[in-house]
Symmetry: C2
Subunit: 338 residues, 2 copies
């Protein structure tokens, strides 16, 4: 790994290093003869341009930083993959950091990104949505796009329509004739919980079904929580005929609980999830759910961010919501497709 520089190539080709630069970047005018001599020298020496030096002078690293929650969460990983692909397609590198659960290392990590002079930042860490300090930092640094709310605003958000997600799931159950529809919700400190709940209530209202707070139970996002919430619901309101789980992961627990209670899905109780993670298609029975376009969201966010960096996008929309749609499978009955 003896680094070979423009100078080395130049001395081998018998020209100045600036001329080599011209050839390699296809700028300026150089005779075909010298050009070939230089190209040959470069390939013989195995020249690899030094992006560091370039960035230093151009004041741009062609790198975006992603601040992410735990990447082993499928949903987050999809965001990131979408964003990374888009960024790479646009000749941008991706510097990534996976935060701890509390997000308490976000400040330090953000600083690392700024030291490395990333051209922009993509925030994909919902645990930061109430963090005022981080919001402040994000607003005041490089161009930023977020996949979640940023306290204080000023940072464009790209996401999906969570209200509609809750609405579609609930309306589907209503259309199938259910009237006692329970919901297993996520954490109270997350906005998405309220949005999906709002969609649930809106659908009930439209159908003229009264909202019953007894039918809402916290499930904490994970299967265990879904299991426990279902058991409590069944205890409290044995007359429910359907459950809307505010994500597919909890729905796994919901299904387990119903199974353990000897209830058949969808006959004794219909279940609808949301997110449409891959194994939703492989639960027993396959889960009807609302598809949320995580990959596209990441892609869109990266596109917007890079447009902002390029200066192509001067007035980014403060919110971009991608559409969601219902995916009918078996857990609600009513046939796989309308």
């Amino acid at each position: 790994m003896t680094d070979v520089s423009l100078r080395d190539v130049a001395s081998r080709a018998g020209v100045s290093f600036q001329t080599v630069g011209k050839v390699l970047n296809g700028k300026g005018t150089v005779s075909t003869e010298t050009r070939e001599r230089i190209l040959e020298a470069a390939s013989e020496l195995g020249y690899v341009p030094n992006a560091l030096a370039r960035s230093l002078v151009t004041q741009s690293t062609s790198t975006i930083g992603i601040i992410a929650s735990d990447l082993s969460d499928y949903i987050l990983a999809r965001f990131v993959v979408g964003a990374e692909r888009e960024a790479r397609g646009r000749e941008h590198g991706v510097l990534i950091g996976s935060l701890n659960e509390k997000g308490s290392d976000a400040g330090r990590y953000l600083r690392v990104l700024l030291e490395r002079r990333v051209d922009g930042i993509l925030s994909a860490a919902p645990q930061l949505e109430n963090d005022v300090r981080i919001g402040e930092m994000l607003r005041g640094s490089v161009p930023t796009v977020s996949l979640h709310h940023v306290p204080g605003g000023g940072v464009p958000v790209v996401g999906s329509d969570h209200v509609r997600t809750g609405f579609l799931a609930t309306r589907h159950l209503l259309e199938l004739g259910h009237r006692r529809i329970a919901t297993v919700r996520g954490d109270e400190d997350r906005r998405v919980t309220f949005s999906r709940l709002k969609g649930y209530r809106r659908a009930l209202e439209e159908a003229g079904v009264a909202f019953d707070p007894d039918l809402v139970e916290a499930g904490g996002w994970e299967p265990e929580g879904g299991y426990g919430a279902t058991m409590r619901l069944l205890e409290r309101a044995p007359d429910i005929t359907a459950i809307f789980s505010q994500n597919d992961t909890m729905a796994l627990g919901v299904l387990s609980a119903l199974y353990d209670r000897g209830m058949s899905v969808p006959d004794d109780c219909a279940v609808v999830g949301c997110d449409d993670i891959p194994l939703a298609a492989h639960t027993i029975p396959p889960l009807t759910t609302v598809h949320v376009p995580f990959y596209d969201t990441g892609e869109t966010a990266a596109r917007l961010l890079i447009d902002m960096i390029d200066g192509r996008e001067k007035e980014p929309a403060p919110r971009t919501l991608l559409p969601v749609h219902l995916v009918r499978r078996v857990s609600c009955g009513g046939g796989p497709e309308k």
Copy 2:
């Protein structure tokens, strides 16, 4: 984002920029008085050191590059999270790229990493395990550690003991008294498939059960494949009493197939998976599986890589295998714990 440099801080504090450098890096000797003046000026101006310029002179970026498969795969994501956490704990940044399925963009991406002068590379893309050209590139550049085989060798590999994985799963079934044990295997072009198959055969052999090629069926890693493979197995060998699925994802399909055939798990057929992905604990019934420490593997790989970069590790072991262990749940019967 008007960048403020050492010079700016210096002129505000009335000293030379080199002195500011000394203070900020805690090197040299500077009087307490000037030090404070400098610190104050730096914080007033919001000085953020420029890692680019530093790297240029120190010839080290404190950055590792990760070449990864699709990050939305849980297993890969765990590797990456482990590696990233370890790297960050050791003050290293992570530049990541998620390859396409074929890995055909690996060459280009590798070049990007080299241009950015990463200090080392972590390869986590099994689709490259037969790619001779990439093997060549990896061997001849910066320090590298791989999570999969690299053609031509010369790159230390960190992984888990796949043979033992297959062995433990199969032995468990044998111990429970099964004799007709089928296995749903992964893709033929992947080494892990052969290793797990080898473990399966070894366990059979130790127990004095003859290997029957009819009991091996390809499942292509995904639930659909596991479903199809199970159906074919049931057709061909209706006397099987247990199935070892070479990953948990396919096991989902195995469970669905058995369910659709009206067979009860574990009474009519026991199922054991491997990998221990989170939802293995939440299938119906909960899946007995072999735990594979993906996070630790990533962590270990990053640790080794950074030790190599530091020069702390001169003769890395060509192979480091982390231990795996059986996790008993319900899908094999025999009680949750021994």
